[in-house]
Symmetry: C2
Subunit: 411 residues, 2 copies
Amino acid sequence: MEVVSLFKVISDGGVTSPKGFQAGGLHCGLKKTSRNDLGAIVCEVPAVAAAVYTTSVFQAAPLKVTRESIAAGERRLRAIVVNSGNANACTGQQGEADAYEMRASAAAALGLAETEVAVASTGVIGELLPMDRVSSGIAALPSSLSGDNEGSEQFCQAILTTDLVKKEVVVSLEVDGREVRIAGAAKGSGMIHPNMATMLAFVTTDAVIEPQSLQGLLGATTDLTFNMITVDGDTSTNDMLLTMASGLAGNTELSQSHPDWDAFAAAFQYVCQTLAKAIARDGEGASRLVEVTVEGAVTDESARAIAKTIVGSSLVKTAVFGADANWGRIIAAVGRAGEPVNPDTVDIKLGDIIVLTGSRPIPFDEEEALVYLKGDTIAIKVDLHNGPGHATAWGCDLTYDYVRINAAYRT
Amino acid sequence: MEVVSLFKVISDGGVTSPKGFQAGGLHCGLKKTSRNDLGAIVCEVPAVAAAVYTTSVFQAAPLKVTRESIAAGERRLRAIVVNSGNANACTGQQGEADAYEMRASAAAALGLAETEVAVASTGVIGELLPMDRVSSGIAALPSSLSGDNEGSEQFCQAILTTDLVKKEVVVSLEVDGREVRIAGAAKGSGMIHPNMATMLAFVTTDAVIEPQSLQGLLGATTDLTFNMITVDGDTSTNDMLLTMASGLAGNTELSQSHPDWDAFAAAFQYVCQTLAKAIARDGEGASRLVEVTVEGAVTDESARAIAKTIVGSSLVKTAVFGADANWGRIIAAVGRAGEPVNPDTVDIKLGDIIVLTGSRPIPFDEEEALVYLKGDTIAIKVDLHNGPGHATAWGCDLTYDYVRINAAYRT
């Protein structure tokens, strides 16, 4: 809670709120509906860039191209171009050629070097991109760009697939007495699981920051935020989290030795955590956000494994959907997580309702529990009393709509 | 296939088919319906016994009691008493006392020593057994016992929870020219996942078999059968697989050096595999059995991990429910399994329909695929071309009914 005072949340803004960024989006024909399916974020100066990628052994073609751009430009980028509706994954050499062509077209349209451009794709796996539509769309992208909220909005819409709502957040803090902003946009919403997901997330900031410090911060923050959410246990081939720092705030360069580093890191984590929670809340078919807190594990890593096991359990997820205070499924998940647990010292609370103490059921008011479990955010709190480790994970319930959406996604 | 010729399947029989066994079941009031909820298998002589248990750190009270019985009797048992409707898990010292009392009551009713009796429970976690009903039921159990098919039938019914169908199998083979029978009964059907499940399975045989050999065979077979099924990724607190060998077939004692060992082991594996597949097919809400075969992994263990990841993927499961040939989700599961995979050499078939070769999509007849995927058993065949390892895993689709059943199980 104390962390919040280090920065403030700006309710009206988007990825263009930090200085130096424009964004835009349009419909080029990759989605069957008329929703946006192509977007870009462009920085007016070379921005310090950092990225993390899916751990899947099958990495989609755009990830390779983006990795090359960041390496070639010594961690600098001017633009990221994203399409939804087609993941350009498992598309072989043609898919790679298409990702390079997508980058080249964007560089030409924006007047940039190719290696100043990153690309990302999300959508169906195994189908070739219709490059005629992509190229026409990219040619029209520059005219869709703007530095105001409309640009952020169009970009946010362009990256969505089965998401129901756009996901964005902006914070502001002071570094050296100057205002620094950090903003993010993301998309979910199936194939979401620890170790990155069908997830694209983009974080912009105008901070001046040392490149290795930004990469380090991104990795550490990912472990506590995007890697702590799960919708369905599946990790995608396309997950990417990319951040660009324009440096236009004019602060002295941030690194771990900077006196305002902790504040910046906290604000950065808040941005990532807000996007991660938004992805979990908007998980396919989700009706409720589930937040699992584990205390008293032997280590933080152990706590993370247990929290993720609970939040990923289909039986816990269906119980939450049914507003059923079925703590037996929670303790069953704790028991199979493969982590050290004292079987006699586990406490479980649902919100503030104590249901288990010392691994034994405590009588509770079923009516009170039902009212709580019908809320839109369900907190499952587990204390193992077995060490100093703690962690939080986020997910959602498993509903009829999840099955409906995924039984009919491709066809 | 060659294995089948070593034994024959007896279509009309149950756990009482091997010599020396009686079984029975009745309704004592643990289930709200009038279905059986208490059952027993009784052997007329001390049977060689072996068991494997859930890997959960929270092992239900009956497991402790059964373990003690088997240890105390030097791997010999006369009876197993099982209740459904209440798991007697997370029930503390009272739960342990109840499990001991259940054993003592059964021993008294059957005229046996306490340590000749094993107990098992399945159902809701965290509620105390209503011991008055259990005790009355146990007192009536002996009169329900019979050595014919009716006894097997009543027992089979007594161990079910949300299962839709009973699960039993009987095989016959020759050992030393004498007929030996092996029979099994099991229940699922939620919380089913590798490393045992909400699963109770009981295998009877009249073979004469050396106790350590029986335990070794049980463990090895479990890894290839019950540990290769998943319904929802959850492992329960109560899983138990128990086998009893009466020895009344009169063969010379089986152990690995016996010339008919391989035939016996194959028949034993067939019994376990049949029960495991029946559990997967009758997974909560399941409409289809999914059989995933992985070839060409670096090791069998690696193949098993990949097969289980595929069969456990919610996205693969919903695609099967939707009869959608969405191989992208299959390769995504392969990619996140955490096992060595060459990203360029993966072949995938759905039945005999080739959908991916060398990790690249192959055009296939969508109509033909749809017809195949609407069948009642779906074979997903993956060849990694990366080594000699192979494995098979079984699961089921993820349907509206899974959500319906589990959103309303406890309440």
